[in-house]
């Protein structure tokens, strides 16, 4: 099965790959970048407003403000996902709505909704982190490594 491809087959595949490149429409890269910038910026601005509100009007401290902002933004992302609106935003915003914390909420809630019918344990429970899981694993993993390095550097 582990095919040693003939030269001819390789040539066919190479040629076909070029053809496919020629006939496949390009993503509108510039437009997508602009949209992602604007949407991402808008979401972050909203986050900043929430943060300022917490600090100025609710009298929260630094770490409390961060937690407050995260809670509000995650709620908004989850809420819009539940209403079936977040995927519509995502269609235009691309990475602009995936990268902020609202996108993280969307990835968890959408998976939980999708697999609700397979039950609470094997459906929602098992599948909830199907998209967010890798982000958590490698995000937390990387932060531990960086933490250890920072600690070691701090020793000297």
């Amino acid at each position: 099965m582990n095919g040693i491809k003939t030269k001819r087959q390789q040539a066919i595949e190479k040629h076909y790959k070029d053809l496919v490149g020629q006939f496949t429409p390009n993503h509108a890269l510039a437009m997508n970048l602009v949209r992602a910038f604007l949407w991402g910026g808008a979401i972050c601005t909203l986050g900043q407003c929430v943060s300022e509100t917490g600090k100025t009007y609710l009298g929260l401290g630094q770490s409390e403000t961060s937690a407050f902002t995260a809670i509000v933004m995650v709620f908004l992302g989850a809420f819009l996902t539940g209403l079936g609106q977040y995927d519509r935003i995502g269609k235009h915003a691309g990475a602009g709505s995936i990268v902020p914390i609202t996108g993280f909420a969307n990835s968890i809630v959408s998976a939980a909704m999708e697999f609700r019918r397979e039950g609470l344990v094997l459906g929602v429970g098992a599948r909830m982190f199907v998209i967010a899981g890798p982000v958590l694993v490698y995000g937390i993993g990387a932060s531990v490594i960086v933490g250890v390095i920072a600690y070691l550097v701090g020793l000297f």
């Binding site: 076909y16 790959k17 496919v20 496949t24 079936g84 995927d87 709505s97 909704m113």
Partner: protein, 345 residues
């Protein structure tokens, strides 16, 4: 009796009759350019069921019943049901068959299942093994998305070459000459079937299915024409399954390279035609239900009215699985071909 012609084509000498057909689609498909040709539109794409999977099974079952009903028959009057869909272990087809109590052969060749079913059904009827065979396949946007892609509500972007899985089903009733019901319109029959070879040109991009399937379509069409000694121009129309806009262009280019002369205007694709550009389906529709619904609405309707007299129907399938994609494998494609003709051709 079925007779082998050339390397890979079967001639169905008794010419099994296409006695009845029926199609069902969702709302989005109904709003597309071919909308009026479908028999039935779903008001609620959950069909009052608990899950999307049960909804797809119910849609398929209803389509089979409507098809048999058009011929004035009950589902049990079919000797065999040939059916498939896109869900793991072809759940919709099996759950549909469990209610119909018709002997059933489950088929899977991704989006080319409709022409696979017709090819096998045609041979069964032609050989006398079945008096009547009903071929029915379905796909549902919401079952296919969760199977192959991401959750429905996840907010991401689809590339321009991506296709939209059609919510739809189609059923065709094939009858032996002496078994077609009196009231059925039987001016259309099946004459040839060419079983496709599985072709892999090392494409890995799941969102460019047209590129995966085009080489298989080119291969099957070339072999078919060579086998029976016809030119592409002998057909009024050459209809592919769900290559989409990208795949159709690639098919034409590959045929040109192979030296197969085709008139571009006679080659059209169900997937590229089922949605309009405004419907935001990118390169077009896909899924077994796409070619099945278009065949059992638009195409057979045109054949019956005489707007086309002799056509090639070649559904195309991308043979990936969720496992093969994760393991980084390339995606093989396949295309099965059947020839549908009006009497007197």
């Amino acid at each position: 009796m079925s007779k082998r012609v050339g390397e890979g084509t079967v001639e169905l000498t008794s010419r099994p009759r296409v006695a009845a057909w029926s199609s069902t689609v969702g709302k989005k498909e109904r709003e597309g350019p071919l909308g009026i040709s479908f028999d039935f539109t779903l008001g609620d794409d959950l069909l009052g069921q608990k899950t999307w999977e049960l909804a797809e099974a119910a849609m398929l079952r209803d389509t089979v019943c409507r098809c048999m009903d058009k011929a004035g028959l009950e589902p049990e009057d079919a000797d065999v049901l040939l059916s498939g869909d896109l869900i793991n272990q072809i759940m919709a087809a099996h759950f549909c068959a469990r209610e119909l109590r018709v002997p059933m052969l489950g088929l899977y060749s991704a989006c080319s299942t409709m022409s696979e079913a017709l090819a096998i059904g045609g041979m069964l009827v032609d050989s006398g093994a079945a008096r009547r065979a009903v071929c029915a396949v379905s796909s549902h946007f919401s079952t296919a998305e969760r199977q192959f892609r991401t959750p429905l509500e996840q907010g991401g972007q689809r590339p321009a070459s991506a296709q939209w899985t059609v919510t739809g089903a189609g059923a065709t009733l094939l009858c032996g000459k002496d078994y077609a019901p009196d009231n059925a319109e039987t001016v259309v029959s099946m004459r040839y079937a060419t079983i496709g070879r599985v072709i892999d040109y090392a494409i890995k991009d799941m969102s460019n299915m047209g590129a995966v399937m085009a080489p298989a379509a080119a291969d099957t069409l070339e072999r078919h024409l060579l086998d029976i000694g016809r030119a592409a121009d002998d057909y009024d129309e050459i209809i592919t399954g769900d290559l989409g806009k990208v795949g159709r262009d690639l098919l034409l280019e590959l045929l040109k390279e192979k030296g197969v002369k085709v008139d571009r205007n006679r080659v059209w694709d169900c997937g590229a035609s089922i949605f309009s550009p405004e419907q935001d389906a990118h390169a077009g529709g896909s899924g077994c239900g796409c070619s099945a619904a278009v065949l059992n609405g638009h195409i057979l309707g045109r054949l019956m009215k005489g707007e086309a007299r002799r056509v090639v129907f070649m559904a195309t399938g991308a043979l990936l699985s969720a496992t093969s994609v994760l393991q980084g494998e390339t995606i093989p494609g396949v295309a099965h071909l059947v020839v549908l003709e009006r009497d007197g051709e």
